[in-house]
């Protein structure tokens, strides 16, 4: 072991010019990082300050640390229900649409049937239609035909398929060789088995990318839940949080506490899985 580490050449000194440019780049990126995360750090401490201190003090850290804001907000607003609603809708939409996208990506890339390309083109072109165009007819359908007005199901059912997801998965599955699938067919595997034990395991990385994408989009979704969900107990986090503005006009310590309650759980996940988030977004950009 010692021999190997001695044998390794001493770390080469970088040329002076590169050293300077690298330092400048580091300083610039560090500045960007500060801009990106400092507002949160301020908010963390703001949520622990009493109102008077929040509006008067310039200091970042609280003089009097308090958890009263959290007590008051949890006593007045049903954050637990909002949280549950957000998780249920975002997770079920993500699970279902990642599955449907994978299946349809597989079928559109490996199957031949009449009207395949036309169907695919039509589905893709629905992506061009702004949401505002369908929101009124869609609401009427959800409310009248399905009876899902003010119901979480109205949010979930409209997210079962995503044209973008089908497109992304098809792009990827074009690269799976036909021979592999044919070989499995000759070995007598059923189509279900081929899909679940051969195609899906090969597609895990675009699937996780798509999952991140769909999850972020749905977790943050505002307009459609605003239309469908009216009563507070059925609302998702973004709606309940936006409601704080009217509930406590300019009581900033409550805003900070409420925002923290919605931000912290996501950030906790992000702290461990940031790699997958970024790879997911990067991959969608490269594939699309």
């Amino acid at each position: 072991m010692a021999v190997i580490s001695e044998a390794r050449p001493a770390r080469r000194r970088l040329p002076r010019r590169i050293l300077i440019s690298q330092s400048l780049i580091q300083i610039f990126l560090l500045g960007m990082v500060v801009v990106a995360i400092f507002p949160f750090i301020w908010m963390i401490f703001a949520s622990l300050k009493p109102f008077k201190e929040l509006v008067e003090s310039r200091a970042l850290l609280p003089e009097t640390w308090t958890l009263r804001n959290y007590e008051e907000i949890l006593g007045r607003v049903n954050f637990v229900a909002a949280f549950r609603n957000s998780i249920v809708s975002a997770v079920s939409v993500t699970v279902v649409s990642v599955f449907t996208s994978s299946v349809m990506g597989y079928i559109f890339s490996k199957y031949r049937f009449v009207g395949k390309e036309i169907l695919f083109t039509i589905i893709l072109s629905t992506m061009m239609v702004p949401f505002a165009v369908i929101m009124v007819p869609l609401y009427i359908t959800i409310a009248n035909s399905f009876g899902l007005a003010d119901h979480l199901g109205g949010i979930i059912i409209t997210g079962f398929y995503t044209a973008f997801g089908i497109f992304l998965m098809r792009q990827f599955m074009e690269s799976i060789p036909f021979e592999l699938i044919d070989a499995a067919r000759i070995d007598g595997a059923s189509e279900w088995r081929i899909f679940f034990t051969l195609v899906l395991p090969m597609s895990l990385s675009p699937m996780s990318a798509l999952a991140v994408f769909v999850y972020l989009f749905n977790w943050d979704s505002f307009l459609w839940p605003l239309i469908v969900l009216n009563s507070q107990d059925n609302q998702t986090l973004p709606l309940v949080l936006a409601g704080l503005r009217n509930l406590w006009w300019t009581r900033y310590e409550m805003w900070a506490a409420g925002s923290m309650l919605t931000v912290v759980p996501v950030m906790a996940i992000y702290a461990f899985a940031s790699r997958y988030f970024i790879r997911g977004i990067a991959m969608t950009g490269l594939k699309a």
Partner: protein
């Protein structure tokens, strides 16, 4: 297994027994049933939640929609389109929306490019920087709106305390009709930038480093490398980003609504087109004019996207 064995032997008989046999053969293929059970739900879902609403939107835009008796809504032709164009806030919202999109481009593109260039060049800590710059993307937009409304409060906000602390004049930020819109776009940029940075960085890391080595041998400076290598080879990524940015910013709704309420900022200065559609549809309950307004938006976004593709699309591909 059986279907394959049957299929090879049956091909000769298929000619004599005609079309019925071909159908029967297809039905026996396992691929058929797998495809069938997957495609049928897709067709049903797309019909109910996508195609039918789009068709309905075109129909609704031509009638004075009666909420209680929709089947008997009287036909008004292009009446809804005329009505929405005469709405007192129509021109204001169109102007604000275009301004919002223009500011979005100005604030997003150069900064995202700059950060991406530096991220692709930095030798240490790229992943950490990228992860931290991406943080605002993960946070709920509503929380971001509240956060910046606090920071930008003209009287008690931290930003003005900071400005006066270093002897600069305090700003009105979101509270004056002249600065509210650009300030709101700055917030949107802060929240969205990481997304574009990640896509651009991935594109830049994809450019083969031999090209830069060769350019270095030829004695080029970083400025020339950026304009002669990076920009031309990033054509497809840049096209994707500009299209996404245009589509997104022309449909902005959440940020101005949470920041200012549904009336949109001091003196309607941040009242955007999507807020007009929302107000028509769900506050004033005029479904006909609302869908007419949304179709105008559709046409406009389509035209802008086609224009961008015509202008930016590179003539080559990888």
């Amino acid at each position: 297994m059986t279907s394959i064995a049957d299929g090879s032997g049956a091909s000769g008989r298929a000619e004599t027994m005609g079309a019925w046999f071909v159908v029967k053969k297809t039905l026996r293929k396992p691929q058929f049933w797998f495809g069938f059970t997957m495609i049928v739900p897709l067709l049903i879902w797309y019909w109910i939640f996508s195609f039918w609403p789009i068709i309905q939107a075109f129909r609704m835009s031509t009638v004075a929609y009666k909420l209680l008796d929709p089947a008997n809504s009287p036909f008004v032709g292009i009446g809804n389109f005329l009505k929405i164009s005469q709405h007192p806030l129509f021109l204001v919202s169109v102007k604000n929306t275009i301004l919002w999109a223009v500011y979005s481009f100005i604030f997003h593109l150069p900064l995202a490019m700059l950060i991406a260039v530096f991220l692709s060049k930095v030798r240490r800590g790229r992943n950490v920087y990228q992860a931290l710059i991406f943080v605002p993307v993960v946070v709920s937009l509503v929380a971001v709106s509240l956060l910046f409304k606090m920071l930008m409060d003209p009287e008690v906000g931290q930003l003005n305390k900071l400005l006066s602390g270093v002897g600069l004049p305090e700003l009105q930020w979101l509270s004056s009709s002249s600065s509210a819109l650009p300030t709101a776009v700055i917030i949107a940029t802060w929240k969205g930038l990481g997304f574009y940075v990640v896509i651009l960085t991935a594109g830049m890391m994809n450019i083969p480093s031999e090209l830069y080595d060769a350019a270095l041998v030829d004695g080029t400076n970083p400025w020339q490398q950026f304009w002669r290598i990076t920009m031309p080879l990033m054509g497809h990524t840049i096209l994707l980003i500009t299209v996404l940015l245009a589509i997104g910013s022309l449909q902005e709704f959440t940020l101005p609504t949470v920041l200012f309420g549904s009336e949109g900022g001091p003196g309607n200065s941040t009242y955007l087109y999507n807020m007009l559609i929302y107000q028509e549809a769900f506050l004033d309950i005029r479904f006909g004019t609302a869908t007419a307004a949304s179709l105008l938006q559709f046409a406009f976004i389509l035209a802008i996207s086609v224009l961008q593709i015509k202008l930016i699309r590179p003539s080559w591909s990888y």
